[in-house]
């Protein structure tokens, strides 16, 4: 009880900054001790590359949550976009042949579809004033269904030759750093700058912390909100562009539970679920923590795999305990 909060402020802020980093470092140390390959180039690359999908999405989610919103539809949106992209590209092969243009069209489709889907969520939320939870729960069901329907219940596979051409987008890179990592890093960089140093980032935090105040301060609340959802949609599109070349397929199982992982990453990173404060670099750490847990569990086998989920859950809670520790008393 007690007002307390105030004097402790500087210390607590420091803990919330160090907390997630500390958790990450602990995980890395644990990993390195348990398995010598853990810090090997290959494993590090693998982990970073596979973090990229959730990571890119989670950066967008950071803005949405900071502005007081939520988006449950990102996972199925990704699946739908992947499906659409594959269908479009396959259908263009007969007329355009296998070549870079088809892939570029596919990428454009992904970006446009992502943007459109994000705008749609945003418009429903801001214009009709429905709770984001409900709107995106609805669109989550809709996209998931649509991809199942597009795939006739099965899997949509990218034309084999096209896939070979497209694969370097996931597996290739420059200086040994693969594209997903590079794109992820760029998205994070841009996200961090936008959040910290642009009017848009300020507005998101203002809206999330008190919508009324933002409105009375002449902030275009609805437009900023809409833009957070649109940006998230676009980022889902980008994530999908990286995802499709990996296995060249999309099905109703694609992107399952990505929304939960993305939201969890955002919150582990120190962004406040009710909005008003967001931290892009924290989100990155959140994503890495989540991916690392899975990686560690695969690299070691001292427990029944049935219990993986339990360990994962426990580590997530512990990671957050670390950073909230200052608040405890």
């Amino acid at each position: 009880m007690s007002d307390a909060a105030v004097p402790a402020a500087p210390r607590r802020i420091r803990m919330t900054v160090i907390g997630p980093i500390l958790a990450l470092v602990l995980l890395v140390v644990a990993g390195a001790l348990m398995n010598p390959n853990f810090l090997g180039w290959d494993n590090v690359t693998n982990v970073l590359a596979r973090s990229a999908f959730i990571g890119i999405i989670a950066v967008g989610m950071t803005f949405v949550i900071t502005a007081g919103g939520l988006d449950l539809s990102v996972g199925s949106m990704a699946a739908f976009i992947a499906g659409l992209m594959i269908l479009v590209m396959n259908s263009l092969v007969p007329s355009m042949g296998v070549g870079v243009p088809v892939i570029l069209v596919g990428m454009a489709v992904a970006l446009l579809a992502g943007l459109a889907a994000g705008l749609l969520n945003g418009i429903l939320i801001t214009r009709l004033g429905i709770e984001a939870f409900i709107v995106t729960l609805g669109s989550m069901g809709i996209y998931r269904s649509l991809v199942t329907w597009l795939a006739d219940g099965g899997t949509l596979s990218l034309d084999f030759n096209l896939r070979s051409l497209y694969q370097p987008v996931y597996y290739g890179g420059i200086f040994g750093i693969t594209w997903p990592i590079i794109v992820f890093a760029l998205v994070v960089l841009v996200g961090e700058v936008v959040m910290r140093s642009t009017a848009f980032g300020r507005y998101c935090a203002a809206i999330g912390s008190n919508e009324q105040v933002a409105k009375y301060s002449s902030v275009r609340v609805d437009r900023v909100r809409l833009m957070t959802y649109a940006a998230l949609g676009l980022l889902v599109g980008i994530a999908t562009i990286m995802y499709v070349p990996r296995l060249g397929s999309a099905s109703s199982a694609t992107g399952m539970l990505w929304e939960l992982e993305a939201i969890a990453a955002v919150i582990i990173g120190g962004t406040v679920l009710k909005g008003g404060f967001g931290r892009v670099w924290g989100t990155v750490i959140g994503v890495l923590i989540l991916t690392l847990i899975g990686n560690l569990l695969n690299l070691t086998d001292f427990v029944s795999p049935y219990l993986n989920g339990a360990i994962q859950g426990a580590i997530i809670v512990l990671a957050v305990v670390l950073q909230r520790e200052g608040k405890a008393r």
Partner: protein
């Protein structure tokens, strides 16, 4: 025939992974076709994402659609046993597909795959393909009884064959999850001779990871369930995919078809109909290749 419309309820798990997707496709296609063929038959097709939802579907079919026959592929055996028994008590015909109920004698017709057999055939192939023995890793499905039966069958078959299982992790019959797990297996084990992916979706994921890592110690990946792309590769003599083990999702079609025939013609169709798991090799692959199927 009295011209009266009869209703057949079909209740199956939703298409949450490749095999189930194929099964969904075959169910839908068969229903569409049979509705054309037999105007006096009406079908209700419901897909469920968990056992409780499946029980709901079946209850609804009885309460609101007065079904005369039920074709059910139980999500899980135990929870569906009671409800299906209730349907039986209402006088409807019962066809059970793939997973037997936990009590004997409820179903009129049983069309099933053979899960222990699937594991056994896979294990036997593994043993024969690695005559000197070797180190393998295993990708398992979603933790379920089916998966347990398959793995037990597999382990029994490689017993004493000098095959060392380096690790088993759940790939959840999912390509992405399997890709990740396989990547980590590759980081962890410098030498892997073969992979039992136990399902073609998981095999696709595992192959992706192996290819990306550029590892050449892995001699082959054994999937299962006969996805057309994989059968094709076996047929074409791809050394990485020397074989497959069938577990046809089309068994649902067989079940619906037989049930429909039984309902319109009163031909004797009850009994058990076990579809064994067969080893597909380059020699016989053509027989199992259905290019039009989505799976």
């Amino acid at each position: 025939q009295d011209g009266e419309t009869k209703v057949i309820g079909v209740s199956i798990p939703a298409a949450t992974h490749g095999w189930a997707g194929g099964m969904n496709y075959f169910a839908q296609a068969t229903v569409d076709r049979l509705e054309e063929t037999y105007p006096q038959l009406d079908f209700v097709l419901a897909t469920a994402s968990d056992p409780a939802k499946q029980v709901n579907d079946i209850e609804d079919m009885v309460a609101t659609r007065n079904i005369d026959a039920l074709v059910v592929l139980p999500f899980e055996s135990e929870p569906l046993t009671g409800p299906v028994q209730n349907v039986k008590a209402s006088g409807a015909w019962i066809t059970v597909v793939d997973r037997g109920l936990s009590q004997e004698g409820i179903e009129d017709l049983y069309v099933a795959g053979d899960n222990p057999g699937f594991g056994r055939v896979s294990g036997e192939f593994m043993a024969s393909a690695l005559p000197e023995g070797g180190k393998i890793v295993v990708l398992r499905g979603i933790p379920t009884t089916i998966d347990n039966e398959r793995v037990e069958g597999f382990q029994a078959a490689i017993e004493g064959k000098n095959i060392e299982v380096l690790g088993m992790e759940h790939g959840d019959w999912n390509r992405d999850k399997s890709f990740t797990v396989m990547q980590d297996f590759l980081s962890k084990h410098p030498q892997i001779d073969a992979v039992w992916a136990s399902d073609d979706d998981m095999a696709v994921g595992a192959l992706g990871a192996i290819e990306a890592a550029g590892r050449d110690d892995i001699k082959f990946v054994l999937g299962g369930a006969g996805m057309k792309e994989m059968i094709k590769r076996t047929m074409d003599g791809d050394a990485m995919i020397p074989a497959n083990v069938t577990y046809p999702p089309s068994m649902i079609a067989t079940a619906i078809e037989i049930t429909a025939v039984g309902l319109v013609s009163q031909a004797p169709v009850s009994g058990d109909f076990i579809i064994g798991s067969v080893l597909v090799t380059p020699e016989n692959a053509e027989t199992y290749y259905y290019p039009d199927s989505p799976f």
